[in-house]
Structures are given as structure tokens and as C-alpha cells.
Amino acid sequence: MRLLLSKLTVLLLVLLALPALAQSRRVTGQVTSAEDGTPLPGVSIIAKGTSRGTQSDANGNYSLELPPNINTLVFSFVGVTTQEISVGNRATVNVAMSNDTRALDEVVVTGYGAQSKRNLTGNIAQVSSREVANIPVPSAEQALAGRVAGVQITSLNGKVGQGLQIRVRGAASLTASSQPLYVVDGIPVTSSDQSSTTAPTNPIADLNPNDIESIEILKDASAGAIYGSRAANGVVLITTKKGKAGKTTFEVGAQYGISNPTHLRTWLNTNQYVELLQEALTNSINLGYLAPGTSLNNRFTRYAAGDATGWQAPNPKYNTDWQKEAFQKAPTQQYDFNARGGDAKTRFYVSGQYFDQNGILIKNRFRRLSGLANLDHTASEKLTIGVKLNLINSINDRVSNDNAFSTPMQIVALPPMTPVIDPRTNQLSGNYTLYYNPLLNRDFAALQTRVFRVLTNSYAEYKIVPGLTFHTDFGTDIIGQQEEEYYGQETARNTGAPNGLGINSFRQVVNYTTNNYLSFGRTFAEKHDVDATLGMSYQQSRSNFASVTGQQFPSDAYKQITSAARITGGAGNETGYSFLSYFARVNYRFDNKYILGASARVDGSSRFGANNRYGVFPSISAGWIISDESFMQSVPVISLLKLRASYGLTGNAEIGNFNSQALYGAASATGVSYGYAGVPGQAPIQIANPNLTWEKTLQADFGLEFGLFNNRLSGEIDYYQKNTTALLLNVNVPGSTGYRTQLRNVGKLDNKGVEVVLSSQNLTGALKWNTSFNIAYNTNRVTDLGGTTITGSFLNRAQEGQPLGVFYGPEYAGVDPQNGDALYRITTTNADGTTNRNATTNDYNVASSPENLVALGSPTPKFIGGLTNTFSYAGVDLSVLFQGQAGNYIYNGGGKFQSANGDYFDNQSVDQLNRWRKPGDITNVPQARLLGGNGTGESSRYLQRGDYVRLRTVTLGYTLPQSIVNRVKLNKVRVYVTGFNLLTFTNYTGWDPEVNSDAYTGNPVNLGVDFYSAPQARTITGGIQIGF
């Protein structure tokens, strides 16, 4: 393979030498803004079909040697419509460029290069800086929800700084990650969870969204194949802002706001609670579950801080709304500054930001301090060099995962008769509460993650000959992360450490990449355009972790590990991986109408099994711009009509670093020693699979792009099919082998879908109104799991013939009106051999036997979409984004505690008052039975539709008139208010339909799970931007 590529290189070089020398001539001119006539510096001017080009200087002037046989100049500038000008016999060509960007002519970053959208044969979605800047969320991807067709973005819960779930065209994996590859300025960055606790974090939140120039999402195979074995889940290319030649501009911004929960639930008050529990007790005694004479009075009094009047009807002394206590006042603020400028030789962008967002949950906060410098220097006509330096310090005050007694939302389980403050001690109610009181963690515990991150990139570009450029870069992504946890004496009930527990962890992730490639672009005989890229890349990543745990602190004033009288735990480990890759891409255009593309990447990785070290990932694509055909010129309504198709292979290499090998460990994966009482020990931890390889996704995409009425209405329709094979699975193996699972490439799954994007300029006068709409339909089906089934924590499964993560289990059939028993549907056989689901059982064990289980719904939405309307009039701008999804279900894993008809002492959701009470009652809530397990098994009782539409973002801004602004020597002043998650329309009765509990994400089958998951934040901010 390497030999073949070498030969290609030589061929490419020979081609370059072909054009004969001939007479060239010089063209000069000035580039100005069509809007205000001011000179435009930094505009790129290229002799069409060559790589010969220059940039306009600070006064907008340029001068360029035009090669012979070339008669067209291409003027391009970020954010401005690209123009092609025929030179004719002129020696001076002046151009006015318009800011009125038309989406169809934008330049799109493609990975190892860029291309005009018009010439694209793959599906790449672009999001501009405007759409991600100043949204009150820590991470740029959160602002993308609803903006990109086919990209689903779910915040796991309402904790700030937490992990996100992103799916590009459905999940293409199961055990391996389904998250896309993130590439920032050409460097693949660390994007996976780095938390040492079970609550995931999101390393992308380290990036300042206001530094982002554009985000491109590579969705189909022809776009993604250049990233080979890591592109199957899509690739997110993030490009940061760069300097522009011209007058130096400064911008400062400030933003302040407040967050609240999107939704609260209603729980029983003390009277209701006592009534329900007493009734549950009576029923259980009558049914013989509990001994006659059992009383709850002492227990209630204990919960009511030892005061019987605390719970006794009719006017109990205590009636605590615990839910309210889980939340805090949550201000959010952001201050940033940037400067941008330069001249034809050197350009710079520098920025700084302080972002501080308090989560809605107690003790939850995310702060980020970041600085970015991007510097580009044109040393000569041939050589451009540049450097980027991005320094970030983020601090995240975190809370426990959803399945911890200490997590704030589990506070709702506490009985309402328990006072917040125990009057006997005047302290927070502590050891006598039903469960651990999470408020103790608020006051006496801390979990803080501090990240220092350095992202750098140095590059050089050398124009070897016209049309051939060599690019080399070297980038690093270094994360130093400290996690400090301290749990005071008061939290002993939760930690089991009577005198304080401290954990101090340090993680370092060093990730470096070098990319080296040749880019070739040339027009032959005016009608044949060829663009080609050929190169290699090497990436190495190493991650080290060390942690120390100590107990026995003299007091809560001492929190550092060194103050611990006993060091009770320590961990240190290392892991790493490398990728060595070669890639090539060729695009050929004939007559600017017919486009052919091909690309391939060869990836080798340390992760792959010895039998499968290298993989090849090719793709082909084609496009036809029908509207440029002569026969279409008579249809003036159609300004663009383009067909494109692509087919290719991508992979998913997130298979773990050493998963192909038979391994022994001296400690488990979670760091539990296999030694015994201080004597060293070891044990087998993994069974080998030398055939282990990347997952393979073959994707076909057919697209139609159109523009009507001079592009007032434009759109894109895509149909795709993604077939993933060699799906990596932790296949359950018989426990009698000594192992629970083995990792194998056994499965297959398919995603099929349609994406529609429409944009229109409804009004273009003084009142401007633009609409953009996207909707995506996706079906996902697991087609082969080698005969096994993978089960999740609740009802989720991966099962053949079903969508990934399908909820599969007993079907709840309501309540028996005669006796209040919970009923479940069972499968019975008709006389003719067919089956029906008419019969029911009250025996959960019967209901959960395999023949009675059914598919109950999919956790993945069938439809996702967004609708953005923007208006502007006389300095006022308004942007309104609705986002939604439909066709998915949510399983409330906490249901068996929260809504269990008085099965235990957890406070119950108010709907449990509708329990069955006497024969003839028709209700969905079974008879209350203390410890009776009546309907509390996992079943569709706790499953609900998760459809929602959300008013995701509304921004109303006002830009002060220039006349006023100029008087105070400023360039621009804009004030704005932004609302995030203002309204939610859903029938889901849990806290929030945008959910997937962070406690269960360790098993990728667990999708659509709600488990005491905090609702999302509704944030309203006001801000000001000043330019000078």
C-alpha cells in the first residue's frame, strides 16, 4: 500500500512539470465593500484553475501575475460572496464585494482542505459562529441542537459541565463509542469523558464557543472517509477564528443572566403521605405480607425529628417541599474580549473569556477562563506559517451521578414530615432521615474538577509550484486535570467514612498529531478542474492517572490529603494509543457541471488486533449541477439544481486500547486490588480476541440541492443508508467460564433516513425575515447480534430486529378492578396456532418469562428537527429557534421508587393518590401495599413517550445606530437578551424529556433512561457587545 502511494506521489509531481512556459501578465486593482465602499483587506485573489494568488493589502489593493491562458480571477473572503471576474484585456480590475452571504457559495472545511459548497459531492453541514456565540451554555455543541439536520444532541441531565450525547445520523455503534470524532483546527482532540467518578464530563466544554469561526459536520461517507477508521459516527470539524488584514478591531462583551429548572414535579404532602402509607400498611397486613399489629407510628415520628405532632393529621407541624431544596439560585455571567487585525504579511486574532455558570442544582457550577491567539505570517509569496495557542482553565463544581443518595435530585425521596432543620440540634436533618440527606453534601462536601488545557498548532504551507502546496503541521492537545473530593464527617452516612474522606486525582492526557500533505489544484484546458490531496498523519495519545484516597481528618477545616490520618487508597495507571494513517483525495470537475470525487485513507492503529493492523477506507462520489446545463437556462425560476451521490466505507476505532489481548491485572479496571490483605495478587481480567477490529460502516447518500427564485428559497434533501458491520459487542458469555463478557466483532446494524433542509428569505426589504428549517427521519435497526441479547440496567436491550436500546420487557396492563393487583399482558396461543396478548397475569415472574416479553418502544427519536426564524429591522434583530424530536420513549428507572403506590417509604408522586381502593375502581395505579411489590417490577408502567418541542433559543438584540455610536468613538454597540429552553411542549410527566441519566451511560444500551435526572436549565441572559 505504501509503495502504491509513493508511486502516486511521483506521478503527481511529474504532472506538475508538464505545463510549458508562456507569456504572463500583471493585473492590479482594488477590492471594496459593496455596502459602504470601504477598502476590503485580506481578500484572497486567485487566478482561476491555478494556485497562483495573492491577498488584498490594508487598502484593499492587490497585484497579481496572471498566467497565460488564464482569463478569470476568483475573489474570495470569509463571509462574503465569492466572485469570479473575467479579466479580458484589462490591466486593472476593481471589485466591490457584497456581505450578503448566500449559503450556496460558502467555503466549507473538508478536512485537510476546504472546498466551495457548490462543488461538494458529500454531505457536510456547516454552522457559523453566529449560531453558537453567546448562547448561555458551556459547550458549543449544546447550541447546535436543532440547527443541523440529522444531528441529535442530548444533554444527559440538567447538570452544568456534564457529558453530552451526540448522534450523527443515528447511532452506528453499540459497545464502542457512538460519539463523533472532534477535530479542532486539523488536530483530533480529546473529547471523551475524563471523569474519575461515574458522572461523565465533557472535554469539549473547555472550548470557548465565541472563538469558533465555523463548525462543519461530516455526515456521509465521501466526506468522512478521509478520516477513515474514526469517521463512522461522523466528524465534527471546529475551526477557530483567525486574523484578518485590515484595521484592528476590538470587541468586548458582557452577559449576565439567571437559570431555573424547566419543570418541577409534584409530590405528596405530609397528610397525603401518611394517608397513603397507612393504607398500604393495612392492606399488607390484611394480605398477610406483614404481621398483624405492625405500626408505622414510631417510624413516622422518627422521620418527623422525634415529634409525633410533626406528622399527625389534620395539621402536621412539618410539611417539607424537599424538591425545592435541590435547587439553588443560579446566576450565569460571561465576559469576553477579542482583537482582530493584521496586514498582508501578518494577521492575528486574540481573545480572552471568563465564563461562569451556576447550575440549577445545589453545588453545581462551571467556570472557564480561556485565551486564544491565532497568528499567521506570510513570509514570502511561497511560504505561510502560523501558530495557534489556546490556554484554558476550567473549573467544574460537580455533584454525584443520578444514582447516588447524595445527588441533589434524590432528595425528593425524603418523606415530607421530615424538617429540613432538625429542631433538636438546629442542624440539617441527618442520621434519622429515611435516606441520606443530600443537603449534607451541599454543606459538607465538595467535588471539584479543574482542567488546564493547552491546544496548540503550528503549521507551514509552502507553494512548491503554482497549483501544488505542501502543508505540514504539528498540534498538541494537553490536558492536566485535577479532581479534588472532600466529604466531611457529617456525610459519614453516605461515605462510610466516619471522620471525613478525601480523594485527590490527577490525570494527564497528552495527545499530539502531525499532518503532512500535498494539495494540488489545477485547471486543464479551461474545462477540466482537478483538486487532489495526498498525505499522512500520525497521532499518539497517552493518558496517565494517579489518585490518592485518605480518611480520618481532624476536622472539616482540614481537607487536603496530607491531613488524613489514614491513607486508604491509591491508584496509578497508564493507557495509550496511536494511529498511523495515509490519505488521498481527488476531485475532478468537467465544465464546472460534472463532478467526480474519490478518497481513501489507510489507518493503522495500536488498538487493532494483531491479525488486523491496517484498514483501508475508500469512498467515491459524483455530482451534477443540472442548473448549469444549457437546457436549464430557460427556467429562470431555478437558480440551482444539483444532484449528488456518494458511497464509501468508514470505521469506528473506539474499541478500547488493549481490548484484543488476553490480559491479567493486579487490579480490576476500576482499580480494586487483586491483592489480598497486602499480599500481591493477580487475576485474569480479559479473554483474548486477536481478530478484534474496527467496526465498518458502508454508507450511501443521495442528495438533491436546489435554489429557487434567485436562491430566495433553497434547500437540500438527502437520503442515506448506513450499514454497520463487525459491530463490537461485549457478548454475554456463560458465567461458568469465569467471565461475564467477551468483546467481539459480531453485530450488524442499519440506519436509514431522510434529511430535509429548507431556507428561505421571506422578506428582504427594510424588514428582513429569514426562515431555516430542518427535519430528519432516521430508523435504526439491529440486524445481527450473533444470537445474543444485550441487556441494559432497566428494560433497554440490543436485540436482533429491534432498534438499538429498544425497551423490551413486561407489558403493564393496568390494575385488576376486582382486587387492585397490577396486571401484565401475557402471550397465549389461539386455537389456530397464532398468538394473542389478551390475557393478563398478576405474577411478575410469569410476566417476565421470555415468551411474555415484548418490544415496548425505542429510546431513539424517529424525527428530529429545528425551525429558526430570524428577523431584522432598523437595528433590531430577533432570532427564534424551535427544536424538537418525536417517536422516542423514556423509561423512568426511578419510577419503582417514586411512583410505587406506597411500596416503601419514599415520598410518592402525587398521581399515586389515584391508587385502587375498592372493588370496581378503574385506575392505572395498583392497590397500595407496603413492601408488597404490587406493580413495582420494571415494566411498561414506567415507560412514556418522549416527544417534545422546545423553544430552544430566542435572542432579541438591538444595535445602536452608527450616528450615536460614532459620537462616542465606538464602532458598534449591541444589546441583547437571550432565552434558552424558555418553553417546552411535551406530554412526558417526568422532569424533562431531554434526558439520559448519567448514572447508566457506562452501558451504551442504556438509552432514554430517566433516573432522578435533573431537569434542564431554563436560562435568561442579557448582554452587551461593544466594538471599537
Binding site: 503532512n516 487483586y674 469465569g738
Partner: protein, 457 residues
């Protein structure tokens, strides 16, 4: 100029391919290591054997949950489960669901220990010849102990119908190196599993030394054997095995307050009464009996409260009646697990006296000592009044056993072998009720087509 450019380009291009040293792709695991590297020397084998002890010390096996669940499923009104974990609650209410996650992990953790023991046994050639028989004895003790624990909770009780037809658990005696059709092992009969257990333990007893630090000894194998024989109602052999432990003279009864570690937050110690204990330190191991029985002020969850009625089992001068404490919320707790880092006594000498007494009594023998002597040996240590021969009945022997061994994980097995009933709510469950046997875990049923589910599930 042009020539120079092409030259430069060629140099750069060549540089690209030169960077392609494949060695860059060989990144070796360092935190865990490859199997080939892990098992090459005698000390590697020793470490693996230690790993097997660590495996049986898992919280899901001898680390406490096995004992806890035997106490909850066998409970007849001595304790109240107040915790939130669903799996133990199902044990307590005797309504185990097939997807109970504890029965699932107990199964796989026990087999994990068995696989490690099998790997040790298959690599005995690595050991120094002087160590070989000791190592073999230890591995067999571990393997047999796990099979014994498995067969008595996942299979029908010995004597409940035909032991040669009743299904026990799959028997695997070789290390797993690959997963294929042959790893779908069906359940052997209850009788076959007992035979394997007795064979391993007998072998272990002959090969183990009398003293072996806190690892398995000759006495441990004999003590476990006495349990096995008692469970299969073979009183002659049970008395003989218990007698071998007592007569061996390695162990002696200690003051009652020393049997259980009444210190707090400090690494556990063995006493001279300990025959075999799971070692817990503040760095390693989990005492799940503390987790579930211990009050929160001692690092537990306080999920199991002792009912007041249980205290009336002790006469006033019986110091075992003082091994209780009220916690901050007024619930009664057993003091046996007050130290969260205390060792877990799996086998201790007092049980041998009780077993010898019961077995002798039932068999009408007096191997080693008379039943009365043995019972009074245990009672006098607790400062309880000595029984007279008139007092001595099977019932008083069994009551003594309960007083001494309460909450140590023998309850369910004693209920079954003595054919008692359990009252759960208003329902009376006979000793052989299917509700007192675990189901085969749903995960295993779904994974291994050769497995057959238990009756009642």
C-alpha cells in the same frame, strides 16, 4: 528554480513515507499485562493463587452478601430489612425475581473464583516442587468452597427428592481460554456437585499444611468438609470432620468479645478461634456484613435491624446477648460487624463444637466428646449457665447454634437441613419451598442454552 522546487517537493514527500515506522503502532499495555507475560514463574503462580483468595473475598461471595442473603432468605422474624436495594429485599420477602441482580453476580463471582482456581491447578508445574501440594490444596479448597456455596442456593436441598436427578450447578474444572460451544456447560446433578466438593476438600485436607498464615489450612478444609457432610445429613462424617479440626489443636476458643472485632475503623485481625476468615484491611476488601448490618456511624448502611424479640433468646448472663447496640436512630444492631474493616469469619472453632455436638447427638455417638460437653464448652465461653443432660435435646442444640452463629450466614442452610418452616407474612413456607431456592439467573438462562431453570421460576 523549477528543478529546485521539484527536488524540495520530492524530499518532503519522501519524508512523509519515512515517518511511517510501523513500530509506532506497538503500544504495550502497562497497567494490565498480557496473559503470556503474567504467568511464567513460581511467584506469578503464587500471585494468581492470592488473586483467587481475593476473588472469594468479593462482596458478592464470602465478602458478605452470600452470608447476608442466607440470613435474609432464611429469616423467620429475627430481623427487619429496611434498605432500598431491591435484590436483598426480595430475599427478605422470599419473592426472588429471576432478574435479581444479586443472584446474577453471586453466580458469576463464584465462577470467577473457580476459574482462577482452575488456572492455578492447570499451572502447578510452575510452582517449586516443595510448594506444589500446598498450592494445589489451597486452590481446591477455594474451588470446592465455591461449588458448595453455589449448589446449596441454586439447587434443591440435599434430600429434597432424588439428589441424582435434581439439578445442581455446572461443573467446570479447567481454565477457560476460549469461548465456544463447549463452554455452554449444563447443570450437573446435586449429587455430582457434592461428590466433586467432597473430593476436592478431602484432597485439600490431605495436602494443606496445619498452619498457613491467614490462607487455607488443613483445618479449614476439614471444617468446610464438616459443613458439607452436615448439609447432606451425613452425621458420622460431619462429626468426624469437626472432630479432626478440634483435635488438631490448632485453634482455641477466645473470649467472646474478641471473636468479633469490636474495635472500629481498623484493619481486621484473626484470632486463635479463626479457622478461615476473609481478610479486610482499610485498603482492601469489603466487609459487606458491616455495610448492611452496621449503623451509619460505623460505616454501614444500617439496612438490617435486629428485632427486639431476638434478644429474648439470651439469658441475662449470656454475654452474647450483649453483642448488640442501639444506633443513633434507636434501631438495634448486631455488634458482630461494628468494625467496617473487620475480618469476616467464614469458619470458626465454635461452629465445630456445635456441629460435632449435633452430629454426635443425631448419630448417637460421642466422637471426641459428648454433645453435652461440646454445648457447654460453647455456653461457658459465653458465661451462660451450663445445660444439664436433661436439658439437652436436638432443639436446644439447634437453639444454641443460632445463638452462637446468628447473622453469620448459616441460617438458611440450617433451616433447610433441619426441615424447618419459615413464616413469611401469613404464608408458611416449608423447608423445601421453591421460594427458598434461588432461580438460575436470567442472564445465564439467556446466555447458556444448556441451562434449565429451577421449579417455581
Amino acid at each position: 528554480m523549477k528543478t529546485n522546487s521539484i527536488l524540495l517537493a520530492s524530499v518532503l514527500a519522501t519524508g512523509l513515507w519515512l515517518a511511517s515506522c510501523t513500530g509506532k503502532l506497538d503500544i504495550k499495555p502497562v497497567t494490565s499485562i498480557s496473559a503470556g507475560q503474567a504467568l511464567t514463574t513460581a511467584s506469578d503462580l503464587n500471585a494468581l493463587l492470592v488473586g483467587a483468595y481475593d476473588a472469594i473475598g468479593s462482596g458478592n461471595v464470602y465478602g458478605g452478601n452470600l452470608q447476608r442473603d442466607a440470613e435474609l432468605l432464611g429469616d423467620n422474624g429475627d430481623v427487619t430489612w429496611t434498605g432500598t436495594f431491591v435484590a436483598p429485599q426480595q430475599m427478605y420477602t422470599k419473592r426472588i425475581l429471576v432478574n435479581n441482580d444479586q443472584i446474577d453476580i453471586t453466580w458469576t463471582d463464584a465462577y470467577r473464583a473457580i476459574n482462577i482456581a482452575n488456572t492455578v491447578l492447570a499451572n502447578l508445574n510452575l510452582a517449586a516442587s516443595s510448594d506444589q501440594s500446598r498450592i494445589e490444596g489451597e486452590a481446591k479448597f477455594i474451588r470446592a468452597s465455591m461449588y458448595f456455596e453455589l449448589v446449596r442456593v441454586y439447587g434443591k436441598s440435599w434430600g429434597d427428592g432424588d439428589n441424582n436427578a435434581n439439578l445442581g450447578v455446572p461443573i467446570v474444572l479447567t481454565p477457560t481460554t476460549a469461548i465456544d460451544a463447549s463452554t455452554n456447560v449444563p447443570r450437573s446433578t446435586v449429587a455430582a456437585v457434592y461428590t466433586q466438593v467432597i473430593q476436592d476438600l478431602t484432597d485439600a485436607e490431605s495436602k494443606l499444611p496445619s498452619t498457613n498464615g491467614f490462607f487455607a489450612t488443613k483445618g479449614a478444609a476439614a471444617a468446610q468438609l464438616s459443613r458439607v457432610y452436615l448439609q447432606k445429613l451425613d452425621y458420622t462424617n460431619a462429626a468426624a470432620a469437626a472432630n479432626r479440626v478440634i483435635a488438631g489443636g490448632q485453634y482455641s476458643l477466645v473470649a467472646i468479645e474478641q471473636v468479633f472485632d469490636l474495635r472500629t475503623n481498623i484493619s481486621g485481625v484473626n484470632t486463635s478461634e479463626t479457622i478461615f476468615a476473609i481478610q479486610i484491611t482499610d485498603q482492601d476488601g469489603t466487609n459487606n456484613l458491616n455495610t448492611f448490618y452496621g449503623a451509619s456511624e460505623y460505616g454501614g448502611r444500617g439496612d438490617i435491624e435486629i428485632n427486639e424479640s431476638f434478644l429474648s433468646n439470651f439469658e441475662t448472663n449470656d454475654v452474647r446477648g450483649q453483642l448488640f447496640y442501639p444506633d443513633e436512630i434507636g434501631a438495634i444492631r448486631t455488634a458482630k460487624y461494628i468494625n467496617q474493616y473487620g475480618n469476616i469469619q467464614v469458619l470458626r472453632l465454635a461452629e465445630m463444637y456445635l456441629t460435632r455436638a449435633e452430629a454426635n447427638f443425631r448419630a448417637g455417638t460421642s466422637v471426641g466428646a459428648t454433645p453435652l460437653e461440646d454445648i457447654n464448652k460453647v455456653r461457658s465461653r459465653a458465661k451462660a449457665t451450663a445445660l444439664t443432660s436433661a436439658d439437652l435435646t436436638l432443639a436446644t442444640i439447634l437453639q444454641e447454634r443460632r445463638r452462637e452463629l446468628a447473622f453469620e450466614g448459616t441460617l438458611l442452610h440450617d433451616v433447610k437441613r433441619t426441615r424447618q418452616s419459615i413464616v413469611s407474612g401469613t404464608t408458611t413456607l416449608p423447608w423445601n419451598s421453591t421460594r427458598l431456592t434461588y432461580p438460575i439467573p436470567l442472564r445465564e438462562i439467556n446466555t447458556n442454552p444448556a441451562l434449565v431453570q429451577n421449579q417455581g421460576y
